[in-house]
């Protein structure tokens, strides 16, 4: 089974994967990367210390084969003032 490495970027923070993971296929690695990005996003994004989480998937030769990015965008809007007499 092939080895994959999953580096994580959270805003300006970079967390390299030193150990790697053996998975049955690229599809399985993509699912793992997508789950990890969603989980890390759930943890980090609401805190506001990062607005974007990227998981970079590398093959056994440390060549990038795909990236998964999760972003959060919060927009505050000023509501129209209520009409007089409402």
């Amino acid at each position: 089974m092939p080895w994959f490495y999953f580096d994580v970027r959270e805003g300006t923070r970079f967390i390299p994967d030193a150990t790697g993971l053996e998975l049955e296929s690229l599809d399985a690695a993509e699912r793992e990367a997508a789950s990890a990005a969603a989980e890390i996003g759930r943890d980090r994004l609401p805190k506001g210390d990062a607005r974007e989480i990227t998981v970079e998937l590398m093959n056994e030769h440390r060549q990038r084969v795909l990236t998964v990015t999760v972003t959060m965008e919060i927009q505050r809007v000023d509501p129209e003032p209520p009409p007089p007499g409402a």
Binding site: V8, I15, A36, I40
Partner: protein, 240 residues
């Protein structure tokens, strides 16, 4: 002496008399070796005996149709892995050996006899099940409401105190023989996320995990991050 690990565990809760000690020794009729990865109990089984752990590490788990697995409890030496099988009869989960294990076997007939003749021992066995439930409650809280880092820190705090109570820690170090995938199945996290959390715990100077050994490098701060309160473990010896 198969019963020694069990007696030590029950002694965490309260004093055990010599007569009770003798009864537990008679109740633990034999011991059995279990290979790593083997199921001690399968979902759907109707066991006629309950098992307690003498050496090794086991996990209670449920499998989903998709093949995903959730580990719902970890057990360390002295723990009953399925005392509740005496009462629930049909198992709603499996129990697997994380490492090679030795287990002590207590027939349900022996538990029935204790429940009919030994009120104090019966209370302690009831407390054993109650503490298992308290740990499950704590896991629901951590899995539902804590960040992955806090949740992982909480699990390491819990495992440290439980292993310390049975004399299996050395200073702040202990054997933790799970793979990262098994830890992921315990925490409900992907392996990649677990790896990232472990790196963060290490970078923050909280724990190191090399091979099968975890060392807590900042116990006060680890507890603080985990919001850890050991009450749920009932580790105080008092009359019960």
């Amino acid at each position: 002496m198969p019963a020694a690990a069990l007696i030590r565990k029950l002694e965490q809760f309260d004093r055990i008399s010599d007569a009770e000690r003798q009864l537990l020794e008679q109740a633990a009729v034999r011991q059995r070796a279990v290979a790593k990865g083997e199921d001690l109990v399968r979902e759907g089984d109707r066991p006629s005996e309950s098992l307690f752990l003498i050496t090794g590490f086991v996990a209670r788990y449920n499998l989903l149709r998709t093949g995903k697995r959730q580990i719902t409890a970890l057990h360390v030496p002295g723990d009953f892995v399925d005392l509740h099988s005496f009462l629930v009869k049909k198992m709603d989960h499996g129990v697997m050996a994380i490492t090679a294990c030795t287990v002590g076997v207590v027939p349900h007939d022996a538990l029935r006899l204790i429940s009919e003749t030994q009120p104090h021992l019966t209370r302690l066995l009831g407390l054993n099940i109650a503490v298992d439930a308290a740990i499950h409650r704590q896991w629901i809280v951590t899995i539902g409401r804590q960040s992955a880092l806090e949740h992982t820190a909480h699990l390491f705090c819990e495992m440290f105190l439980r292993l310390q109570a049975v004399g299996l820690t050395e200073d702040y170090g202990f054997k933790f023989p799970l793979t990262q995938a098994e830890l992921g199945d315990t925490l409900g996290l992907s392996t990649v996320h677990v790896n990232r959390i472990l790196q963060e715990l290490r970078a923050e100077g909280l724990i190191t995990w090399r091979g099968e050994t975890v060392v807590i490098t900042d116990w006060p701060r680890l507890q603080q991050i985990a919001d850890f309160d050991p009450t749920f473990l009932s580790l105080e010896q008092e009359p019960r």
